[in-house]
């Protein structure tokens, strides 16, 4: 059985949406960010970068959201297999999400890691404009490849988590995300919320009643978001 090392409303949410969406059994192991458990020796032995999530599998631990999603896709046939005609589209949008959309959003969440304090306001404006462009590309990709961006599928789960966080974090920053500007993604958010597993996941991580169409600050029953 898999073990998903998670923290509420962290990138582990993406993996949980995919696992529960496909009915794949797994255990959860809370990583308590309040005590910086992800910096501890035990977690670093699993995942040297200390990032969340890590998925433990019978074939070893996997770090990195994108890698976990690819591994699950290939193991459980959640998307095109090698040789299938839309394998290329699947791979390219998965990595675009990982190294461009997710990476840029991370810069907005943790600006002190990327820019001096006096430049944070300008940094947010530049990065928010980039994110809006990225969401536009994802909206077009989801329109072009509806089978790849179906609710609970890896590309959809990844995209929706990013739209949710873009609306919420950092808590004290100017709001710039407007999901309605991306109609395919907005419809996808509704479809994801209509799935039976979504409220169960939302309750487990304290994500509120409309975690994707109308995100609100989380109130997790256990663990810490930051």
């Amino acid at each position: 059985m898999y073990t998903l090392h998670y923290a509420p409303d962290n990138a582990s949410l993406i993996v949980r949406l995919v696992l529960d969406g496909a009915g794949i059994p797994y255990r959860t192991a809370l990583v308590n960010r309040a005590t910086r458990q992800h910096d501890g020796a035990a977690y670093r032995a699993l995942n040297p970068s200390g990032l969340i999530p890590t998925l433990e599998t019978p074939q070893g631990a996997i770090a990195e959201t994108g890698a976990i999603l690819l591994w699950l896709t290939d193991t459980h046939k959640l998307g095109p297999a090698p040789g299938d005609h839309d394998r290329q589209a699947f791979l390219q949008w998965l990595f675009f999400l990982s190294n461009t959309a997710h990476a840029d959003l991370r810069q907005i969440f943790y600006p002190h890691q990327y820019a001096p304090a006096e430049a944070h306001a300008g940094h947010l404006e530049i990065m928010a404009a980039r994110m809006i462009r990225h969401f536009g590309l994802l909206d077009a990709a989801a329109r072009q490849h509806p089978q790849l961006f179906g609710p609970a599928r890896p590309l959809a789960a990844y995209t929706l988590a990013l739209t949710r966080w873009a609306a919420l974090y950092p808590v004290d920053a100017r709001r710039w995300m407007n999901l309605a500007a991306f109609p395919v993604l907005a419809a996808l958010a509704q479809a994801q919320e209509a799935r039976v597993e979504t409220p169960i996941i939302a309750r487990a991580e304290g994500l509120g009643s409309h975690p994707f169409t109308s995100p609100e600050q989380p109130n997790p029953p256990e663990g810490a978001v930051l």
């Binding site: 040297p48 970068s49 599998t57 074939q59 070893g60 631990a61 996997i62 770090a63 990195e64 959201t65 994108g66 890698a67 690819l70 591994w71 290939d74 193991t75 090698p82 040789g83 005609h85 394998r87 290329q88 589209a89 791979l91 390219q92 998965l94 990595f95 675009f96 990982s98 190294n99 461009t100 997710h102 990476a103 810069q107 890691q113 990327y114 820019a115 001096p116 006096e118 430049a119 944070h120 300008g122 940094h123 530049i126 990065m127 590309l137 077009a140 990709a141």
Partner: protein, 223 residues
């Protein structure tokens, strides 16, 4: 099977050229000129809506994103790392993804530190990126010294070695502040892997074709 690589020498498309040479598949080069507007041309945007290289056109259709192309080439032809069902696939995917959203992104920030927060912040953005790249290289050094993965080794050429060789090459010679250029000296195991990779025949051929110099990964030309 015809493969066409949209390419500018010493851009990320050189990573794909290294992989193509390694697997020994014939390919053609579509030389790109950003200043001539090639990235914005509608015909290219149909290949890659992001307007970026690398992109690879194949008989099964186009594909973009460096790591996605590397994985796809490995699925089709092998020779670049473990495939699904083979030993150590999980770790290989984890570290390929790490290089894609870690060192690749960080090295780009060191080359263009003005992009994310404007000209006035560029010096500090470069310093922060320099520190981050050193942390990321330390993770890779630990990986090599503790796990000795076959897919990132001195013995066997692989996707990760070529990918890291090119993105770290940029960080070694391109940053405008000489005191904030990356050095492999604190990372001897990583340096040994990259030294081996720049000596493999595929790398020799690409270094010649793309003008990357005799030691493209460990001591790139700084002229």
């Amino acid at each position: 099977m015809t493969l066409t690589l949209y390419h500018i020498p010493d851009w990320a498309s050189s990573i794909i050229r290294l992989a193509l040479e390694e697997i020994g598949q014939p390919y053609t080069i579509a030389a790109m000129d950003r200043d001539a507007g090639d990235f914005a041309a509608p015909a290219f945007r149909a290949i890659n809506p992001l307007g970026l290289i690398p992109a690879l056109d194949t008989p099964d259709g186009p594909i973009f994103e460096t790591a996605a192309i590397l994985l796809w080439l490995n699925e089709c032809y092998g020779g670049l790392g473990p495939r699904q069902g083979e030993p150590d696939r999980a770790a290989f995917l984890s570290w390929l993804t790490f290089v894609s959203n870690g060192p690749h992104v960080t090295s780009m920030a060191m080359i263009h530190p003005e992009y994310s927060a404007g000209d006035a912040a560029a010096d500090e953005v470069l310093r922060l990126a320099f520190e981050k790249l050193n942390q990321q290289a330390a993770h890779l050094e630990t990986l090599i010294t503790t796990k000795a993965p076959a897919w990132l080794s001195t013995e066997t050429p692989g996707a990760l070695g070529y990918y890291l060789g090119v993105v770290l090459r940029w960080a070694i010679y391109m940053p405008h502040d000489p005191t904030l250029r990356f050095s492999l000296a604190p990372f001897p195991a990583l340096r040994a892997v990259l030294a081996a990779h720049e000596g493999f025949p595929a790398a020799r051929r690409v270094a010649e074709a793309d003008g990357l110099g005799p030691t493209p990964f460990t001591a790139p030309a700084t002229a």
